[in-house]
């Protein structure tokens, strides 16, 4: 299984999330993570969708099917080595009065994570990184007792010097695919 990151640029309209996700459903492809937000260009949204698939060919077909949705402006498919990507995770860690205290220095220096909230008997730690880095930290902090853990979807930018949005001319005249 190879991990693919699919970036979809769309007009910001109601129901588009459904139109995109049913393309995956119909082909029985599970979405590992999904992030949507507005881009630097107003009215244009960016979807970052992570999937795992065995066949590159099938992912190419999937990309073309997504491109076919009327409100979709462009679709880009990436392998991990083509992109810089990160996720953010929040850990709510138990710190009872006479329990083991958290080693803030290790957390900061070794794991590049930060305590963002101090509660009476718990702390909230924010860790940004790849999935692997987040789970490395997860294993380190687990003995303290994780009360709650949440991880965001992936966000990614391509390693090319241009911005993807530059591939979106004001008036698109081509049906182009990038994978």
């Amino acid at each position: 299984m190879t991990t693919y990151t699919i970036c979809v640029f769309t007009e910001n309209s109601i129901g588009l999330l459904n139109k995109i996700t049913i393309i995956f459903t119909r082909r029985r492809i599970n979405i590992e993570s999904l992030t949507v937000s507005e881009t630097e260009r107003k009215g244009i949204s960016r979807f970052t969708i992570v999937i795992k698939h065995e066949k590159r060919e099938e992912v190419e077909k999937l990309v073309r099917q997504i491109r076919k949705i009327i409100e979709v402006l462009a679709v880009f498919g990436y392998l991990n080595e083509d992109i810089v990507y990160n996720e953010i995770a929040l850990f709510k860690i138990s710190t009872p009065l006479n329990g083991k205290s958290v080693d803030v220095e290790t957390i900061n220096k070794v794991y590049k994570a930060w305590v963002v909230y101090w509660g009476l008997d718990y702390v909230v730690i924010e860790k940004t990184g790849t999935e692997t880095e987040i789970f490395d930290f997860f294993r380190y902090i687990k003995p303290h007792g994780i009360i709650e853990f949440v991880r965001s979807g992936r966000v990614a930018v391509g390693k090319t010097p241009q911005g993807l949005i530059e591939y979106l001319p004001e008036e698109i005249t081509e049906w182009e695919y990038y994978l």
Binding site: E11, G15, I22, E60, R64, R67, I70, L73, E171
Partner: protein, 586 residues
């Protein structure tokens, strides 16, 4: 093309509404909808009223002299009628139905239209916008329900949106690879007045959607190179040729290059059957030579077709030796089933025009003769038997006789099953857009409403629906629509008292276990008469010719029921999922 159509409405151009400049009365959403239809030159719509679409029907009342509306008997009939209309005329079919069940009854035609690339604009009523999501009376989430089966959908909740959205709707439905568009029209947006003057600008381009019409020159050159090098080239053309109105271009191309060609089921009638380069049609029940020769060609030129599984059988074993040129308007179809060495993205008409000067004049007499040799085998094993005139009447002889009597020029609308395949085999098409069938979805019940719609779209043509006894009962109520319209739609039931195709499969692949395929049929002629349509039954061969004459001579709608051989099988046949080389002749 090119200039924008702007309609500034003047008071005198409207019968009922007034539209004054200074903050007075503007058009309601429903009236705006009617103006949009006029601006798109819509002359016929098919529909069924109900609660949530009543303001639009009320507005329609003022437009009945300019927009002809046909009241169907079930919304599915409206959809298929609009499909028949669109397929025969090349225009966009329009349906108007209410919310909830009205919309859900339209799902089958919408799904049919997306897979057979038929341009439809379906205007569906919706509950008032303040009731959305409350499980209100006749509320169905039409956007949610239709998203997987339509090309585009949009919910209008503000009357001011109507002109812009409808312009987009008509553009999207008809352009590129055509398909159905669903407009979910909230009742309050129909009734409320616009707050600005109605201005309609036709859409010819959208930022997020602009299908490529003219192919790239380098793709054309690569394709031409491949075609020119071929020793045994073979053209497979499909529905795309008819949609792109590329019939003449295909003919020119074939005549210059002398390449043999075959049609897909939906490509039928794009080339006259008697053309010397036309080898027949291919697919599961297609002809022997066109199927088998896919394994013999060195270059396969696919024009406006998508390698459907009913064409390829096992696609991994389909023409594995061939280098493929694929002319296709939808980029997602290229490499979807068969990898194309020379894809040409664009409209079939433009692509063929651009290829013309680049391809060599050819002579493939020897290669074409190889097809003809196989035809003899098919003739001996299948055609002779089908037309033997022994025993009970066979479907084939009815179709062959009809073909002779209409000189191959009628518009034939078929339903789904054995009669559909037999008609494709034995009708000798001479004119384009003459085989209207539900190909991709295989919707039984398609033919009665679609033949009606075809007659509306081509009133000067002889339209004959050829329908199985099972199919006929799926949309039998549309006989009422036909009777009320007064249009001379001709219908033939090929009655074998069986769901024939399923029975054939049960016989061949399920050990003769006939599970629920025998029908106890009603008296079809009495039913037709009850609807006000005359007809008669023919069960003897000696009456067949006179029976067809009587039907064809009728100035009004007519139903001819022909009692045919009960357990007839359609051959050739490529069993599902096997390779075309495993084609069976008996």
């Amino acid at each position: 093309m090119g200039n924008l159509l702007e309609i500034e409405l003047k008071q005198e151009t409207l019968v009922a509404p007034t539209q004054e400049k200074e903050g007075q009365t503007f058009l309601s959403g429903a009236q705006a909808m009617m103006e949009c239809l006029l601006a798109e030159s819509v002359d016929n719509i098919f529909g069924y009223p109900g609660g949530a679409i009543m303001p639009t029907y009320d507005a329609l009342y003022d437009y009945i002299d300019r927009i002809k509306h046909t009241l169907v008997r079930h919304e599915q009939g409206a959809g298929h009628a609009a499909q028949g209309y669109a397929r025969v005329s090349g225009r966009t079919g329009v349906c108007l139905v209410t919310s909830g069940p009205g919309g859900t009854n339209l799902i089958t035609p919408i799904a049919d239209a997306i897979i057979d690339c038929t341009p439809l604009v379906c205007i569906v009523g919706q509950v008032k916008s303040n009731l959305l999501g409350t499980d209100a009376f006749q509320e169905t989430d039409m956007i949610g329900v239709t998203t997987p089966v339509c090309k585009w959908n949009y919910q209008i909740t503000d009357p001011n949106e109507v002109p812009e959205i409808m312009a987009k709707a008509f553009f999207i439905a008809k352009s590129g690879k055509p398909g159905p568009v669903v407009i979910d029209f909230a009742r309050d947006a129909q009734a409320a007045k616009m707050t600005k003057p109605f201005v309609y600008k036709k859409v010819e381009k959208m930022v997020s959607y602009s299908p490529r019409i003219v192919p790239k020159q380098d793709q054309i050159e690569k394709a031409a190179e491949l075609i020119n090098k071929a020793k045994r080239p073979y053209i497979l053309f499909g529905h795309g040729v008819l949609i792109a109105d590329a019939v003449q271009e295909l003919l020119d191309f074939v005549e210059k290059t002398d390449i043999p060609c075959a049609s897909t089921l939906l490509g039928l009638s794009a080339m006259p059957n008697n053309h010397p380069n036309y080898m027949g049609w291919l697919g599961m029940h297609g002809m022997y030579a066109p199927n088998v020769m896919t394994d013999e060609c060195d270059v396969l030129i696919a024009v406006g077709m998508r390698f459907d599984d009913r064409v390829t059988g096992d696609s991994t074993k389909f023409a594995p030796q061939a280098r493929i040129v694929h002319i296709e308007i939808d980029p997602s179809e290229v490499d979807k089933i068969k990898k194309a060495e020379a894809p040409v993205i664009g409209d079939a008409k433009e692509a063929l025009k651009m290829l013309m000067p680049l391809v060599k004049k050819g002579d493939f007499t020897g290669w074409k003769n190889e097809f003809r040799k196989l035809d003899v085998k098919e003739y001996d094993k299948v055609t002779l038997r089908d037309l033997s005139q022994e025993g009970k009447i066979k479907m084939a002889e009815v179709v062959a006789l009809l073909s002779d009597k209409t000189n191959g020029e009628a518009c034939i609308v078929v339903d789904v099953g054995q009669h559909q395949m037999v008609t494709a085999r034995y009708y000798q098409f001479r004119k384009p857009n003459s085989y209207i069938a539900s190909g991709g979805l295989g919707t039984m019940g398609f033919a009665i409403p679609a033949s009606f719609g075809a007659k509306v779209g081509a009133p000067d043509r002889e339209v004959v629906g050829i329908i199985g006894d099972g199919c006929f009962q799926m949309t039998i109520q549309e006989l009422g629509t036909i009777a009320q319209s007064g249009l001379a739609v001709k219908m033939i039931i090929l009655n074998n008292n069986f769901l024939g195709m399923v029975r054939q499969w049960q016989q061949l692949f399920f050990d003769n276990r006939y599970s629920f395929v025998e029908l106890q049929n009603p008296d079809f002629i009495t039913i037709a008469r009850g609807f006000g349509i005359d007809g008669h039954t023919c069960s003897e061969r000696e009456n067949l010719s006179d029976s067809l004459d009587k039907m064809l001579d009728s100035k009004k709608a007519y139903l001819l029921e022909v009692i045919v051989e009960k357990e007839e099988n359609v051959f050739p046949m490529v069993p599902a999922g096997t390779s075309v080389s495993e084609i069976r002749l008996e």
